[in-house]
Symmetry: C2
Subunit: 230 residues, 2 copies
């Protein structure tokens, strides 16, 4: 009987997941102060797991602690995104190269499944989530645990940013789904080829092209002659 071992996530993990969703969806607004007691009572748990979850979320860059230790939902600025861009550019090609070398058939099939799911996604939010997951899979498949770990510290911020931009500038993301699928297919093909250098190069291009989303808010602000609200 194929009984795989079941994992029993602790409360802190559940709280963390729940809060991630709340932040990514915009249910909790950027900059908003989120007191531990309130979260605890709203979620029906004590403060201990909430505190632990918040520490995790800080690691993921979704919340920050001010000088008094109070928790705020992160408010990403353009400079933050530039930082993230430069780090993605440093990390992801490295991982892509490794994945091309070491990736298993299993890995590539999971990636293919992700692309298929992206093709059939019915909402932008879903596309964004699957996009982040795709990169996540590559980082993991690389076998570079620390790089994957670092990526964990970036991906949620990327998701948060894209979510925010999508809510603000829907029109711009019209063709995103198709483009994402196309780019990911190209990537997967190179990864499967086993050519590390080519994989690095392709990933680099992919990240560079992703950069165009960064200036969105600044551009929109410039056009409408208002201050960018980040």
């Amino acid at each position: 009987m194929p009984l795989s071992p079941l994992s029993r996530p602790n409360l802190a993990h559940i709280v963390r997941t729940r809060l991630s969703e709340a932040i990514l969806s915009g249910e909790l607004e950027p900059g908003q102060h989120v007191p531990e007691p309130e979260l605890a009572s709203r979620l029906g748990v004590s403060r201990a797991p909430v505190r632990e979850a918040l520490l995790e979320l800080e690691r993921h860059g979704l919340v920050t602690f001010d000088s008094r230790g109070r928790t705020h939902v992160v408010q990403l600025t353009l400079e933050d995104m530039e930082e993230i861009y430069s780090l993605r550019l440093a990390l992801e090609p490295l991982a892509a190269g490794l994945t091309a070398e070491r990736g298993t058939t299993q890995d590539f099939e999971t990636l293919a499944a992700n692309i298929a799911a992206t093709e059939q996604a019915t909402s932008l939010a879903e596309v964004t989530r699957l996009d982040a997951a795709f990169h996540d899979l590559i980082m993991r498949a690389s076998g570079h645990r620390r790089a994957a770990h670092f990526w964990e510290g970036l991906r949620y911020q990327v998701e948060a940013w894209l979510g925010l931009m999508q809510r603000r500038h829907q029109a711009v993301f019209q063709s995103t789904q198709a483009e994402t699928v196309k780019a990911h297919k190209r990537l997967l093909k190179v990864l499967r080829s086993g050519d590390a250098a080519a994989a690095e190069e392709e990933m680099k291009k992919h990240i560079v092209s992703w950069r165009r989303w960064l200036a969105l808010e600044a551009d929109a602000a410039a056009r409408s002659d208002r201050k960018p609200t980040l």
Copy 2:
């Protein structure tokens, strides 16, 4: 009156610092299980700050949690160090370039002071600490907060590894102090020149040359025909 605001570190921070020292010095051995209740009673605090400190230490890669949530002092392998090497190579040249561009006179003076201290250090352990601090300063001076943050997640592991190697292969580190000073002086000079590309290149060289410490244990093991104990 120049009274700078005093920071009142919380217990968790103190515990974290104390535990870092214990791990880096070898007081706590690699692989050793460290139960929260014991740490708490030994340090005379409750488990809450200990738990928080352990989470921080995990982020710094000095401890790991097993499937049951029990804490162990990290046991670095050669593969771990290869990972760290590849990440340093991705992160530090980037930061060095930025520091060359944006570094302030103040920054460079702090770096110079660090080098001076390294010159006068009286123990290898001190040299190692100052070495890590030097790189820390560059990461901070770069203004790239996330890169600096990532480096925080590596530096202690680097220190731990070097400490371990130094305790095992003292003789090999004879000339380390002088070499470190020389290399750091070269780096500082390039940083001061403001030439980002040159700074990147010099840092790259520096990291590559650091790589030689990685194979130490494997080499020693091969020579004495025993299994490398990592």
